[in-house]
Amino acid sequence: MKNIVVLTGSSHPKLAQRICDNLGIELSECKLGKFSNQETSVEIKKSVREKHVYIIQSGCGRVNDNVIELFILVQACLMGSAKRVTVVTPLFPYSRQSEKSQKKRLPQHQIGSEIMSSLTQQTDGPSSLPQGTFAQSFMGMSTGEGGYRQWCARAGTLVANLLQAAGADHLIAMDLHDPQYQGFFEIPVDLIYAEPCIIQWIRTEIPNWRQAVIVSPDAGGAKRATSVCNKLNLDFALIHKEDLANTKESMGLVGEVAGRPVIVLDDMIDSGSTVGLASEILKRHGATEIYAIAVHGVFSGPALQIINKSPITQVACTNTVPQEEFRKLCPKLATIDISSMLAEIIRRTFNGESVSQLFVHDEQF
């Protein structure tokens, strides 16, 4: 493959290396760091003139640093006369703020009581800001005290505009939280799904998958879960989270799981509260083993502790976000490698071939 340059930001260099190994090319050398006053410094060592540049950056870890680094990388390529700049974001930053979706973030007090009580005895894990202020501001927002309904900033369109303003010509994103997000961009957006890799993992790693039930932990993810269970020919169940706040006794499960293994499917595990609560409900309804599969394993805050203490048998996430550190802290965690998927889409977009082949049937990679 000539005239291609693949660059990586500092968010997930290992994934970028795997993608390049898959493509059979070298990752281009690029020196990333910070100046003494904390400004981001970017030096691209190889010429990008008239080349097609792919920049791989995930919106994880220190999100603001990685986002600004991405913009500066794009700008540097633009100034270096690159022919076309494609941004590849395994996890798109600020993707959950595209509409008033803050209601979906459960406040701490709604996590399953058993899990929560064991957690309150421990001190807070590494967190940059005191949790109290965030919880307070969140409570204030949801109850609307003071008469004025607080205006929560939605950074979704902003990040899309900023990326275009920096000079990106094309975006490849994996499993965006809202597929409608594509419409925020003037440039072409290719959405790629981890579903084929997840289906392959279910078939190979879950021993009695043919008896399993696919469960969606909330109403919003039902479409995603039904797509998987149709391909595997399995039964489906749903947890109706919104009902739980009102009646304590309401079980909130729609469907039958008694005596069967269940697979909880979601696009992201962030605070772990959704999947923790879902696993408790499923256990109460008689599920035998509980598997949790998510595309993006962000695991912020007490997520890993919640999972360790919950009745979940195993958790599997893709490596859109670096997973090594999380695996050390959580023995239940397994990783699904999607680098081959991303490499395939890079190869096809570079060669000008169709990518719809990737979604018609689940190919074995």
């Binding site: 003494s36 010429s47 220190r62 603001n64 500066i72 700008q75 270096g80 940059s128 501001s137 303003a165």
Partner: protein, 320 residues
């Protein structure tokens, strides 16, 4: 008839300066909460209505610059979607101002990128102080007010440096000569320049003084003090050439890395910075540090912008 009012929003970079500015204007800071979600994404919540108001967002490019830059962009965007009438970004220290040209292959022009990002986010107007290169104003399509700290610096020299009439203004590098000569002219003092001579690559560059500083108080003037390597060496050169004392006055005191150690170990009598960048903690570690308060200049600029009055008065006269 109700006209719109000033709303001041402050990010997390320099809340103390924002409070001073609000106090000067006789208002309170608007009720805004800026924090982070648990996955490190920035969360901004505006607690009062800004519909049809004149909004000023105060955020300096210092500390965790990328976090503060994202905070600023998200606040601007939030006010735009909340139907503010006009949004002005007040950046006492402009971030990435030093990356303003392509000095080697594939170097980004980050200052242009920041200008684009501010426009895209929805800023209608930008107020900043002592841009590293005033040509950066050209990167914007919206109006930019580049305020000067010079009148405040002149007043500080007159009030706080004993024997200033016998002083000499020195620029620590060739790039700052224009700034230093302007101050020297206003005070009717002599001027000198320090010039870095590079004999060979990898050899420590020698500093050459152009001008006479014998038996005079030398005042080094620059726009930014980051690691202070240049300032320390310049002070040493001046003392070797017979200066009686060396002061340093800079507008933006970034003071990162080993800066405080360099200042403490150097022959500088005093280092004066403005409060565009917070340094209360650094003052405890370095007794030579002194502050010029520029909140009055910024507050006056905000007031005049809101009332539609001329701001050019501030270029010549220090706000009281």
């Amino acid at each position: 008839m109700s006209s719109n009012s000033i709303r001041i929003l402050a990010g997390n970079s320099h809340p103390a300066l924002a409070k001073l500015i609000a106090k000067r204007l006789g208002t309170d800071l608007a009720n805004v909460t800026v924090s982070k979600y648990s996955n490190q994404e920035t969360a901004v919540t505006i607690g009062e209505s800004v519909r049809d108001e004149d909004v000023f967002i105060i955020q300096s490019g210092c500390g965790e610059i990328n976090d503060h830059l994202m905070e600023l962009l998200i606040m601007i965007n939030a006010c735009k979607t909340a139907s503010a009438r006009r949004i002005t970004a007040v950046l006492p220290c402009f971030p990435y101002a030093r990356q303003d040209k392509k000095d080697k292959s594939r170097a980004p022009i980050s200052a242009k990128l920041v200008a684009n990002m501010l426009s895209v986010a929805g800023a209608d107007h930008v107020i900043t102080m002592d841009l590293h290169a005033s040509q950066i104003q050209g990167f914007f399509d919206c109006p930019v007010d580049n305020l000067y700290g010079e009148p405040s610096v002149l007043r500080y020299i007159r009030e706080n440096i004993p024997d200033w009439k016998n002083a000499i203004i020195v620029s620590p590098d060739a790039g700052g000569a224009k700034r230093a000569t302007s101050i020297a002219d206003h005070l009717d003092l002599d001027f000198a320049l320090i010039h870095k001579e590079r004999k060979k690559a990898n050899e420590v560059s020698r500093m050459v003084l152009v001008g006479d500083v014998k038996d005079k108080v030398a005042i080094l003037v620059d726009d930014m003090a980051d690691t202070c390597g240049t300032l320390g060496l310049a002070a040493k050169t001046l003392m070797e050439n017979g200066a009686s004392a060396v002061y340093a006055i800079v507008i933006h005191g970034v003071l990162s890395g080993k800066a405080l150690k360099v200042i403490n170990d150097s022959v500088l009598t005093r280092v004066v910075v403005t409060n565009t960048i917070p340094h209360a903690e650094k003052k405890k570690l370095c007794p030579k540090l002194d502050t010029i308060d520029v909140s009055a200049v910024l507050a006056e600029a905000i007031r005049r912008t809101h009332n539609g009055e001329s701001v050019s008065y501030l270029f010549q006269h220090a706000a009281i």
